[in-house]
């Protein structure tokens, strides 16, 4: 039996939003527990190994976190949350043991994951996400000398290509599916946020020497038992590129399993929040990518608002709050522009052939899903979505390919030993 913790505010997710929320809430005098399933705080964007220094951009907030007094619980995967009276009871699994956190306020900052779109050959070993490849390199993978095609959509592509290049990977092609005009107008808007523009230019510099093309997408990966080549096209030109890795990520999708489980209202794949980041569930706040994909700065602003609100400290921080509202508004605009610029083109939504597997956990091809009209029907007819990932990968793809809304979210949010679900008694 693991720990039983009591807090005023429980923050779920230690990415930029969660760390900001935990800092603000704790500094305002609330007892805070911050849960994250990774080995160190920072989320995906500031992923680093425990014991290493955080990346420079993350440093100030993470240093602040360790000084804030918030209790940080890493390597803890949240598997259930329910309201008991006025208190939320969160249960997480950590090293095989159940940890329970009870708190009257919860901040959901569960961030985002990569969107994977099925295409012929995407299940071959060597096909990774773009962020996935970046994460592996940051987790110590020695891929120097390997040839990689980086493809898909969004600013993450260039960031991933830069990380890979820095780690000695030969990035032989970068294919951004969005057309140049969409990115160019996005780039012009970045002039309003010079920091971001510089970042983009830096990435481009970091991968100088790698051909980067807009309006191109990967349409297939080939090889015997592993990736050996990528087929890339712009609709008219076709290129076959020999490679060892295909790093394909098509944008980000928010991790909505926890807010769905809790019963927060969700609209257009975002948690519906009010002025103070409050969700439709009493005592529950949300911040960051779950409120719409809009990058780290927006996440921090929202996290600060949510942390102050959850700790009941907005009044005495009125001036701060006004700055934060402004930052949030700018950030939301950025997020909208991001979404428009990198919207997936119809050709990408149609990459999967009838025999292409859509559900990787249960090996269900697209053809078997033809008759289903909802995710639930697809599940019962084909087992798609019933495997270990419980529809996180195929569900996000199918919502875009077929317009399916997701099935209900049930506990456990991650697979846990049966005995973890039998844990009803906790030490007080």
């Amino acid at each position: 039996m693991g720990e039983a913790l009591r807090a005023d505010v429980a923050v779920v997710g230690a990415g930029p939003a969660g760390v900001a929320a935990a800092c603000r809430a704790s500094e305002s005098g609330a007892r805070v527990v911050l849960l994250d399933d990774n080995l160190a705080p920072g989320g995906q964007i500031h992923r680093h190994l425990p014991g290493d220094a955080p990346p420079p951009k993350a440093r100030p907030w993470i240093d602040r976190l360790w000084k804030s007094g918030a209790q940080v619980v890493t390597a803890a995967s949240l598997f259930d949350a329910e309201i008991l009276g006025e208190e939320w009871r969160l249960r997480a699994i950590r090293g095989g043991q159940v940890h329970v956190v009870r708190a009257r306020r919860v901040v959901v900052a569960t961030g985002a994951r990569e969107l994977f779109m099925p295409f012929p050959g995407w299940t071959l070993p060597g096909v990774l996400g773009a962020g996935g490849a970046q994460a592996l390199v940051k987790s110590g993978a020695d891929l120097s000398g390997k040839r990689a095609v980086v493809a898909g959509s969004g600013p993450l592509l260039l960031s991933a290509a830069a990380s890979l290049t820095g780690a000695g990977v030969r990035v032989v092609f970068v294919a951004e599916q969005a057309p140049l005009r969409a990115i160019a107008s996005f780039g012009l808007r970045l002039l309003a946020t010079p920091g971001k523009l510089l970042e983009g230019i830096w990435y481009r510099g970091a991968i100088a020497g790698s051909p980067c093309r807009t309006g191109f997408w990967v349409k297939a990966a080939g090889g015997e038992g592993r990736v050996e080549r990528a087929h890339v096209t712009n609709g008219t030109r076709k290129l076959e590129i020999a490679c060892d890795l295909v790093c394909a990520g098509w944008g980000l999708v928010p991790n909505l399993e926890l807010p769905r489980l809790i019963g927060c209202e969700i609209s257009a794949e975002t948690v519906v929040v009010g002025r103070y980041q409050e969700t439709t569930r009493s005592g529950v706040f949300a911040a960051g990518e779950v409120c719409g994909i809009a990058g780290a700065e927006t996440a921090v602003a929202e996290g600060e608002i949510a942390g102050l609100a959850a700790a009941g400290a907005l009044d005495e921080n009125g001036a701060d709050a006004r700055c934060l509202f402004a930052a949030r508004a700018r950030g939301r605009l950025f997020g909208e522009e991001l979404g428009k610029a990198f919207a997936l083109r119809p050709e990408v939504l149609a990459l999967a052939m009838p025999e292409t597997l859509v559900c990787r956990c249960e090996d269900v091809p697209l053809s078997r899903l033809a008759a289903a009209r909802s995710m639930r029907e697809a599940k019962l007819a084909t087992r798609a979505g019933m495997g270990a990932c419980q529809g996180r990968v195929c569900g996000s793809a199918l919502s875009r390919i077929r317009g399916f809304s997701s099935d209900s979210v049930r506990p456990p949010l991650v697979p846990v030993p049966m005995e973890a679900l039998a844990s009803e008694e906790e030490p007080t």
């Binding site: 399933d37 990774n38 080995l39 995906q44 190994l49 425990p50 014991g51 290493d52 390597a75 995967s77 994951r113 990569e114 994977f116 299940t123 071959l124 070993p125 060597g126 096909v127 990774l128 996400g129 962020g131 996935g132 490849a133 994460a135 592996l136 390199v137 987790s139 110590g140 993978a141 020695d142 891929l143 038992g225 592993r226 990736v227 990787r360 956990c361 249960e362 090996d363 495997g387 270990a388 990932c389 996180r392 990968v393 991650v414 697979p415």
Partner: protein, 82 residues
């Protein structure tokens, strides 16, 4: 340059940088396929963040552990292909 340690993958010794995840170590040592799918396809990591479950291997006798979420430890025994 990071410290090295040794883990065993399918019976053979592999040197890995201290602080690597098991997935990073396996990929870096040239193991492309970690497991087999329900219809027998070879599979390797996809998301590297604990969401897709494609990187599952047996670690020190515990099956179905996500390699991307597990740090290497000296002397760890990893078995691939489920």
């Amino acid at each position: 340059m990071r410290d090295r340690m040794t883990i065993r993958v399918d019976g053979r010794s592999v040197a890995v940088a201290r602080g690597s995840t098991v997935a990073a170590a396996l990929l870096g040592s040239g193991v492309p396929a970690f497991r087999t799918s329900v219809t027998g396809e070879p599979r390797g990591p996809l998301c590297a963040m604990g969401v897709c479950f494609e990187c599952r291997v047996t670690i020190d006798g515990r099956p179905e552990e996500r390699a991307c979420m597990t740090l290497c430890r000296d002397g760890m025994e990893v078995l691939t292909r489920g």
